[in-house]
Symmetry: C2
Subunit: 208 residues, 2 copies
């Protein structure tokens, strides 16, 4: 009955409820390690175990192998990113429709700047997940869908877009992503405000 491998995160054993505490502790330790040190190559079984204060062998009771650990970390971080962007969208002024787009993208930038290791990990692992109907579904498809919804609101509120709302969302998201990626492969001491300025410039290029 054990060894019930969950296909989404390759969780193994431990399907009895409260025992997941150490599992999230492992993930937290991995994220912490990934933020302090540089990239994905810093994510080693021994390193995560040391950061979590447990033995390397103990990790294998929560993750089948290292690939499963990496998948778990990626999924964990995407959840955090989605939550941050959703929160920024909801806590913005409801009347300022384009301001809600800005809030979302600013949250995206702040998250990307604060979690450089997450980016290295994401850029290093190809995702080939697909919907049951065959349509592709990467982990940040819901993110750009959220941006697309914000742009749709702009359109309904009468804002003039230079692109269809879905294309506008892709344009803004891709541009922002490119700016952040360039930040991460460039100097670490660059001013974070520059990035937010770029995002504003990009949005104002699309929206009016």
């Amino acid at each position: 009955m054990p060894d019930e491998t969950d296909l989404t995160t390759q969780r193994v054993r431990n399907p009895w409820g409260q025992g997941d505490r150490l599992r999230t502790e492992i993930l937290d330790a991995a994220v912490r390690l990934l933020s302090e040190l540089g990239g994905a190559e810093a994510l080693t079984i021994r390193g995560v175990a040391r950061a979590a204060g447990i033995a390397p062998a103990s990790i294998y009771q929560h993750f089948a192998d290292k690939a499963a650990l990496v998948r778990g970390v990626v999924e964990y971080d995407y959840e955090r990113l989605s939550a941050v962007m959703r929160e920024a969208d909801e806590s913005a002024d409801t009347d300022d429709v384009v301001g809600r787009v800005r809030a979302q993208m600013h949250a995206y930038c702040r998250f990307a700047i604060a979690n450089p290791g997450h980016y290295r990990l994401m850029l290093g692992n190809r995702r080939v997940a697909r919907e049951p109907d065959g349509r592709p579904r990467g982990p940040l498809v819901p993110v750009v869908e959220s941006v697309a919804a914000a742009f749709e609101r702009c359109e309904r509120a009468g804002a003039r877009l230079r692109l269809p709302s879905d294309r506008a969302a892709v344009m803004v998201f891709v541009g922002t992503h490119g700016r952040v990626a360039l930040f991460h492969s460039g100097r670490a001491d660059e001013d974070a405000d520059r990035i937010l300025q770029f995002v504003d410039e990009l949005i104002s290029l699309v929206v009016e």
Copy 2:
């Protein structure tokens, strides 16, 4: 007199002319290996030696250590990229000023698609190079300067830009880079034409 370490590429020994042949053969083998397999972690001393058909120890007569090899590969690839973009710019129709921008960015995309390993390597290594006067000088500063020159030509030719020419160049380059980065972290079977279409959409958003 040996061990004359060249600071730009950390070349070591072998300053007698023709002996550089094997050095470029090593770099070619590294690029080949980097293109076939995935990312920067595939770039091992033993792997490069095997791909070049030589012994692992022989590499140390052309590069001081692995870091020097990586620096050499990165520099080598940036030179190839610059050459490809310059060639695309020069061989385009001289009268079609915005067409020359498109040609440059399309060349950038084609190079990035054809050399995925180069991207992984670039995104994984922070560059902190600076000019003698203290201004930062990343390896792709000349690239965006080339795009900026093309946009300046557009401005002089009477094309209406929605941004100052230097900001327009940054916008187009960053957006293109983001699209390519997303391609590399997404499905490998994505149609390359999609990316070129996106670049055209981005340019037409800036130029008119």
